[in-house]
Amino acid sequence: MYALFRSRPGLGLLAGLGLLVLAFGISLASGLQAIPIGTVLEALTAFDGSPAHLVVRSIRLPRTLIAMAVGGCLGVAGTLTQALTRNPLAAPGTLGINAGATLAVAAGLYLLGTPSLHTLAWLAFLGAAAAAGAVYALANLGRGGVTPLRLTLAGAAMAGFLTALTQGVLVASERTLDEIRLWLAGSVAGRDPEVLRGLLPYMLVGLALALGLGRPLNALSLGEEVARGLGQRTGWVKAAGAAAVVLLAGSAVAAAGPIGFLGLAVPHLSRWIVGPDYRWVLPYSGVLGAILLILADVGARLIIRPGEAPVGVVTALLGVPFFIALARREVGRR
């Protein structure tokens, strides 16, 4: 099966899209009150205003769409981050990019009162870009240039620092705390569908930019010198990649808060399925990220019934063993 996907990657992508539709259906059907799949289909095609139909259309449909979009963005952003830094432990979460966007959004809510969605999105992009730049500059300090390990540790320290500042902002304003407590843990529940509509253009631009980078990233993965020798202008590739990461991670954070470890795990899974060709790894990561975040959100609804966990908790609990296994493998060879 896995050899099949490697030789015919398009087939695997189709299978992935099939799984995505399946996950979408499961997400619409499950929750505190399970709704049979037939009723779900009726709600989508022949809406009659009954309570079950209302639940599907006004609660579960928006959150599933947001989970799909955010998961896709994070999967692609994680793949880009790992490709650009050539670091298997890199991801928007581990490098502090999400934390930067979170701080900017929290500060915006505190200082500006009720800013518009577009202001918040641009604040998130600004925060993400500043954090990414700072981590990269920090990892460049000292002798020996950027090593994967140093980049990861610099990112972790940066994330800790930014999270502390975010907590400072929250404590300074009780109102902000109540409003964004759930968002802060990473959640797709109870979002206004308008949020997705407003952020979708940014996400699409980021995705298009990322998918166009498949071929140059393949060259870059051979090493900076090789890529330059092949005639690539690596500076432009990196700049475009960084811009795409900022757009994708920033809009994901603006929509659903900092969701960790998804961007870390998805690229590894896609590479494992389809091999190292980034022209295919990038779309696979998008589809896989969307499937995983939808399923994680279903899990978040079911694990502590009748309550509901933030989806960021589920991705962290599933992602941490993955992260630890990677850390053990990467740092084991001394």
Partner: protein, 343 residues
């Protein structure tokens, strides 16, 4: 003249040596701590002049000063100092037994685990007394710290692998804490959130008392085992060759570090980076021998939290910034500096 003074007792079979730098440094730090305490006690919405603070502490102040100083502010200052002391000593021990300059209660996931234990008690047993938090924090800290150590072990302990695994364990503990908090709608969630940031806000004698027995056991035990830390800090084989029961001593010291760190977390939440920074500052002051390093690190840690609390209270007054935000804002850049220094 030697750097060391040997202290021998004629009657008892006890002798130890002390770095000559240690007593003056400890005295100076103690003096600063006292001055800072007086300053901290006098600062607030109801300012009290330093002279009056001292008179009140000695039992001679007016009745309202007595209430403000001895009932409201003194326990808070004492909790701040003791929490810093415990975190710093735990950090110094962890750095020695893992031979890792980046180890500390928060980096190894110990603080996050202890926080999880304490929040679980806060949320699920809302009627439990404050003293129940400490054993719960201890269990959480032991589990998380042990898991980090075990998973970071792979034919030997590697400093950076341990840190990475610790980051992962801390994230998992944080996620579980979020889950616990999501299961309830009670008002204690807001309280738990502020507490998790690390704060000595509103600490009174009832918060101080449950901490004392744990520190009363942990601190002397750590000081008694300081010389084993010197040996463990060397190479593993060398330590064994010198006659150290490496695994046993390391296990005991790990337990002591967890006790100290968890007691601190139970009293004031997760104050980041104190356990990381204080031992390094102390090493600059008195060198690497643990007999002098442990008490010095403790004093430095206590001073740091005391100062962080004072800064947090005055920086944006009347808003109180939790001490944990202040320590993290200073500590994270310091962590980066340690990471990139000459490497």
């Amino acid at each position: 003249m030697s750097r060391w003074t040997a202290i021998r007792c004629r009657r008892l079979p006890v002798s130890f040596r002390l770095d000559r730098r240690v007593p003056p440094v400890l005295l100076a730090l103690g003096g600063i701590a006292l001055a800072l305490t007086v300053l901290s006690l006098g600062t607030g919405q109801y300012p009290v002049p330093p002279g009056e603070v001292v008179r009140t502490l000695l039992g001679g102040g007016s009745r309202e000063y007595d209430f403000v100083i001895r009932t409201l502010r003194l326990p808070r200052a004492l909790v701040a100092f003791l929490v810093g002391l415990a975190l710093a000593m735990a950090g110094a021990i962890l750095q020695a037994i893992t031979r890792n300059p980046l180890a500390s209660p928060d980096v190894t996931g110990l603080s996050a685990g202890a926080g999880l234990g304490a929040v679980a008690v806060m949320v699920f047993l809302p009627d439990a007394p404050w003293s129940a938090l400490t054993p719960a924090a201890l269990a959480g800290g032991l589990a998380a710290g042990g898991l980090t150590y075990w998973l970071g072990w792979k034919g030997g302990s590697h400093p950076l692998r341990l840190v990475l695994v610790g980051i992962g364990i801390a994230a998992a503990a944080q996620a579980l804490t979020n889950t616990v908090m999501a299961t309830t709608q009670s008002l204690r969630v807001g309280e738990a959130l502020v507490w998790l940031t690390g704060s000595v806000y509103g600490r009174s004698w009832q918060h101080l008392r449950p901490m004392l027995p744990w520190l009363g056991v942990g601190v002397p035990a750590a000081l008694l085992m300081a010389r084993h830390l010197d040996v463990l800090h060397l190479d593993e084989d060398l330590a064994r060759g010198l006659g150290s029961r490496v695994e046993w001593h390391r296990g005991m010291l790990f337990l002591i570090a967890v006790t100290l760190g968890s007691a601190a977390v139970a009293a004031a939440g997760t104050l980041g980076f104190v356990g990381l920074m204080a031992p390094h500052i102390a090493r600059r002051l008195v060198g690497p021998a643990h007999g002098g390093l442990l008490p010095t690190a403790g004093m430095v840690g206590g001073l740091m939290v005391l100062a962080a609390d004072l800064i947090g209270r005055t920086l944006l007054a009347p808003i109180e910034v939790p001490a944990g935000v202040v320590t993290a804002a200073v500590g994270a850049p310091y962590f980066l500096y340690l990471l990139f220094r000459n490497r």
